[in-house]
């Protein structure tokens, strides 16, 4: 359910129906983002939300590969 919701949010963001701040605040990482803002002494904004996304976002396909412990090199 959360994946679908995330995909919808991505779609909304790409269509310009929501901004980066709304994207983050409606996603799973809202609290983490707010904590990040607090610890950086900055107010939540579209700019900082865009930066936060850029630093943390992993696209769905990548996440699938990463989570597959039978894929890749685990030494």
């Amino acid at each position: 359910m959360s994946v679908i919701k995330h995909e919808e949010l991505v779609e909304f963001l790409q269509e310009g129906r929501i901004g980066h701040l709304q994207f983050v605040m409606n996603g799973e990482n809202a609290q983490d983002y707010l904590d990040w803002c607090r610890s950086h002494g900055t107010d939540p904004s579209d700019d900082s939300a865009e930066f936060y996304i850029e630093q943390t976002e992993i696209d769905a396909m990548e996440r699938q590969l990463i989570d597959d412990e039978e894929y890749g090199l685990w030494l």
Partner: protein
């Protein structure tokens, strides 16, 4: 590399027995320093791995086989798995008494130590553990054959919480460090890990690092240092971001950092469109500059204070002494060889240095702010300006050939 002698007597018998028990698995046998596959498995593996089959005499019979060095397993095994193959890896059995030992070990250990078996097999060769990828591991012929349900349980056991691969200076636990191949661009490999259970954004790997990792010459902590350096650095306290930072300006005048943040340039007309930039308000002045990836990470991971980032990114703009103090001429190069003058041809201020028998550097234009720091605020010296613009050139020329031409005239300010 020292090759181990091949001992393949009886391997076909083992192959047949294993095939009876696991008809859907592709069998790879560890033989000496290689992994080998036979008969129909060799043909399948040949197609997937693009390795030619060869006719080999095994137990007096000619059979199709393929083989590759044991250290290439981590390259080839994922390919077989991705091609949908179920693979069983059979470590070679050499001494019967070791089977018994392994039997008892595997009975007691395998349920809770599935991944460690892989490491043990590499370290304690020729221990008889058998490793398999997808859906699970299998034991050698006589040792054990596991039912599929057991295999899936074992696979689940692998997903138990992991021991940290390292703990950072901040006490953060690093787990799940591994490399993986991109599916969209198979030539690209990425490194990723989790910190305190949070997935890090994957970083594209340098091919040399990937090769070193495959050969176990590079460890997860080393890759973390390479690809996530700021995640490992000591964080500065929150309070450093919540109170006004002060930097030392010209004549040691304190400059207050009133605001510091990051944004992406949205103006399509600007050459830095789409780049992330730092914005700062310092002592009433507003300024912005394109930020390096390193500094963006340092800001995001809170390992540098706004004051430190202002000094680094706006030091020239603010004519800060700390900015110029980082530049030094190589030892032996005196200030007297530096010339800073307005070029009559274009009316721009330029710096050059006469290195005597090593020649004269090109003239390089200096920025307005550096000129201001030199002539007005006097927070920069001629040596520092020369080192900033000509440092690399001077080093190269001093290490280069000595010029035999007559000594050129030095023009001083």
């Amino acid at each position: 590399m020292k090759q181990k002698p091949e001992n393949i007597d009886g391997i076909l018998d083992q192959f047949v027995k294993m095939k009876e028990k696991h008809p859907d698995a592709l069998l790879l046998f560890r033989i000496g320093d290689t992994y080998q596959s036979f008969k129909q498995d060799a043909v399948k593996a040949s197609t997937i791995l693009d390795i030619e089959t060869r006719e080999k005499k095994v137990d007096g019979k000619k059979v199709k086989s393929i083989g590759f060095p044991h250290h290439a397993l981590d390259t080839y095994l994922p390919r077989l798995v991705r091609a949908g193959m179920r693979v069983a890896i059979c470590e070679q059995l050499e001494k019967p008494q070791k089977i018994e030992k392994e039997k008892s070990q595997s009975t007691t250990n395998e349920a809770d130590m599935p991944r460690k078996k892989k490491e043990q097999a590499a370290q304690e060769e020729p221990v008889k553990s058998v490793k398999a990828d997808k859906p699970a591991e299998e034991k050698k012929t006589e040792v054990k054959s596991e039912a599929k349900s057991e295999q899936s349980q074992e696979a689940k056991a692998e997903r138990k919480p992991r021991e940290p691969q390292m703990v950072t200076v901040n006490g953060d636990k690093v787990t799940h460090g591994h490399a993986y191949q991109s599916k969209t661009n198979p030539e690209d490999w990425y490194f990723t890990a989790k910190i305190n259970g949070e997935q890090l954004k994957p970083q594209k790997m340098d091919p040399a690092d990937l090769a070193a990792y495959q050969k176990k010459e590079m460890t997860v902590p080393q890759l973390m240092e390479r690809y996530y350096p700021t995640k490992l650095m000591q964080r500065v306290p929150d309070v450093a971001f919540q109170v006004a930072n002060v930097v030392s300006g010209p004549e040691q005048r304190p400059l207050t950092v009133d605001k510091f943040n990051v944004y992406k340039e949205k103006d399509e007309q600007r050459p830095d469109f789409g780049r992330y930039k730092f914005y700062a308000e310092v002592d009433g002045q507003k300024m912005s500059t394109v930020a390096s990836r390193q500094d963006l990470n340092a800001y995001f991971d809170r390992v540098q204070t706004p004051g430190q980032l202002v000094e680094k990114n706006f030091g020239e703009r603010l004519h800060l002494p700390s900015h110029y103090q980082q530049f030094r001429l190589p030892e032996g190069v005196e200030a007297s060889v530096v010339r800073i003058a307005k070029d009559r041809s274009d009316n721009k201020w330029k710096v050059s240095a006469d290195l005597g028998e090593h020649g004269r550097t090109d003239k390089k234009e200096i920025s307005f702010d550096d000129g201001f720091a030199l002539f007005k605020t006097k927070t920069a010296t001629r040596e520092q300006i020369a080192a900033k613009y000509l440092g690399e050139d001077i080093k190269t020329m001093l290490n280069g050939p000595v010029m035999s031409m007559e000594k050129s005239q030095s023009m001083k300010m």
